[in-house]
């Protein structure tokens, strides 16, 4: 009787551990932070072309949809999503704002000449601190903004599905 209980006590935890590991391994390791920010952050940044300081409150005006896209010329996935952004920029219900993340400005300019410029305004984030204000942790990341609130957040490059989603929301 006693040996039965002992073997039972050993087998049960082993099965439990097996189930936990099996489930855990099936889960994707990619962690997306559960950001609690609803309102967009207030910050000052320098504009890309005019090199003027601008406050975010003067960019995101109410009653309009904005798409803030964090990008860099050194980021390969940004290259993939760029044609989609160029296409999306033709939609006049939406203004696309770029946040150039830790980039060499000359390379960034070349990138825009090569692939097109979908951005109404581009802000410079030389040290990456502005991206942190947005709760971003890499490039590319895209935020759909309406009335100073983040409506939707896309981590990683945009794809056809996310573009459809954006178009559905701004309809």
């Amino acid at each position: 009787m006693k040996s039965k209980i002992i073997s039972f006590l050993i087998i049960i935890p082993l099965i439990l551990v097996f189930i936990i590991f099996y489930k855990g391994l099936n889960k994707s390791n990619f962690y997306e932070p559960k950001s609690k920010i609803e309102n967009i952050p207030v910050f000052t940044a320098t504009t890309f072309f005019q090199k003027k300081k601008i406050n975010s409150q003067n960019i995101f005006v109410k009653n309009k949809f904005y798409l803030l896209n964090i990008w860099a010329s050194w980021c390969v996935p940004c290259r993939d999503e760029h044609p989609l952004l160029v296409n999306l920029s033709k939609n006049d219900k939406l203004e696309i704002i770029g946040l150039n993340y830790k980039d060499n400005l000359k390379n960034a300019e070349k990138f825009l000449i090569e692939l097109g410029n979908p951005y109404k305004k581009i802000l410079i984030d030389r040290d990456g601190t502005k991206a942190i204000e947005w709760g971003a942790f890499g490039v590319p990341e895209t935020f759909l903004v309406f009335e100073n609130k983040i409506v939707k957040k896309f981590v990683g490059p945009l794809n056809f599905k996310s573009i459809e989603e954006i178009e559905e929301i701004i309809k």
Binding site: N29, P33, K34, S35, K102, I132, G135
Partner: protein, 121 residues
Amino acid sequence: MKIIKIFILILILFYFSPLKANEDKLQNNITKNLRCLICQGQSVYDSDSEFAISLKLVVKNKIKEGLSEEQIYNFLSEKYGEWILYDPKFNKNTYFLWFLPLLIFLIGGAIIFKKLIKIKR
């Protein structure tokens, strides 16, 4: 005159260095308790990823702005969720986490206690 100038310079350096050292210590303490989100298993302090470098800078700026350690943790957990903190806060989602060691300790203690009574008998 030159000696006086050098003396004043040294005095200024000595006056400010402990202040700076305190700031650095606080920054290190905070960044050691932050998880680097893109290089899991490493703290922000240990990591040299782009994200970690920026985050260290943000913490430094926030200390300069006069925010306390607690306020900086709150600021970051609002941006990235509680996952960014290595030391999770005590709330209804983490009751189990905090009480589990205590529970195991009590159960272990009870087993030992029972065995001891048995031996005594």
